[in-house]
């Protein structure tokens, strides 16, 4: 069964990203949105953790990146930017959605 995990809090504020990554299995996906987008950038203390997740597709919500003045060039390699329509598509594509609120 494939799962879309969503994380909406900064990894520097809460540990939901770390918990999510510890539980996400191969074939699932992780969407970072709201303050969760901070985890998608290179050069942070969680970059290696995020970049090292095996077999989990990484997505970030573009409008939330933009709202925080973050540039796509700074994203970790392999992270795909989606808009709200893309968010809806991911939720429909995966069998279940787990919100790590």
């Amino acid at each position: 069964m494939s799962i879309l995990h969503t994380v909406n809090k900064s990894p520097f504020e809460k540990s939901s990203l770390q918990s999510c990554i510890a539980h996400a299995s191969e074939g699932s996906a992780l969407l970072l949105y709201e303050d969760g987008v901070y985890a998608a950038t290179k050069g942070t203390s969680v970059s290696d953790l995020v970049a090292g997740v095996a077999g989990v597709k990484l997505y970030v919500l573009g409008p939330d990146l933009k709202a925080r003045g973050m540039q796509e060039e700074r994203l970790i390699d392999g992270v795909t930017v989606v808009d709200y329509t893309g968010f809806v598509d991911l939720a429909a594509e995966y069998d279940k959605v787990v919100a790590w609120v």
């Binding site: 909406n8 949105y33 709201e34 939330d64 709200y84 598509d89 939720a91 959605v97």
Partner: protein, 130 residues
């Protein structure tokens, strides 16, 4: 596809009330069905018709009401969460002898069973909040 939406966060608090709205709108525009939007915990604050944000700010309550009008959405406010936070409709005002109401007419107060039913009847339950 059928979606159920759960909102646990109040308006103008962080971003969940906005994310939930924008997700719901995008899903509807894509032709998906929204079985129900359930406002839980501090999320019940999204239903007060007395909200008056500055003119250049988004009106979170009216925005939901307009979307409900356009797509005939079922906006349900958790009764226990509402009672704790002073969110009152006509029925609750009468039952609890309150002298005022504040729930927007496009929302309705009901119980947690409505959330369970929405989760069972929908293909996906999307949770937004803290």
């Amino acid at each position: 596809m059928k979606f159920a939406i759960q909102i646990n966060e109040g308006p103008y608090q962080h971003q969940a009330a906005d994310s939930a709205y924008l997700f719901t709108k995008a899903a509807l525009e894509k032709g998906h069905e929204i079985f129900r939007v359930f406002f839980y915990h501090d999320g019940v604050g999204n239903s007060t018709r007395l909200t008056t944000p500055p003119q250049d700010d988004r009106h979170i309550v009216n925005r939901w009401a307009a979307l409900a009008e356009q797509y005939n959405l079922d906006l349900v406010v958790c009764v226990a969460a509402a009672q704790r936070r002073g969110m009152v409709d006509d029925g609750e005002a009468e039952r609890n002898r309150k002298d005022a109401t504040n729930i927007h007419p496009k929302f309705r107060i009901s119980g947690l069973g409505q959330l369970i039913e929405a989760a069972v009847q929908s293909d996906r339950l999307m949770v937004f909040g803290d």
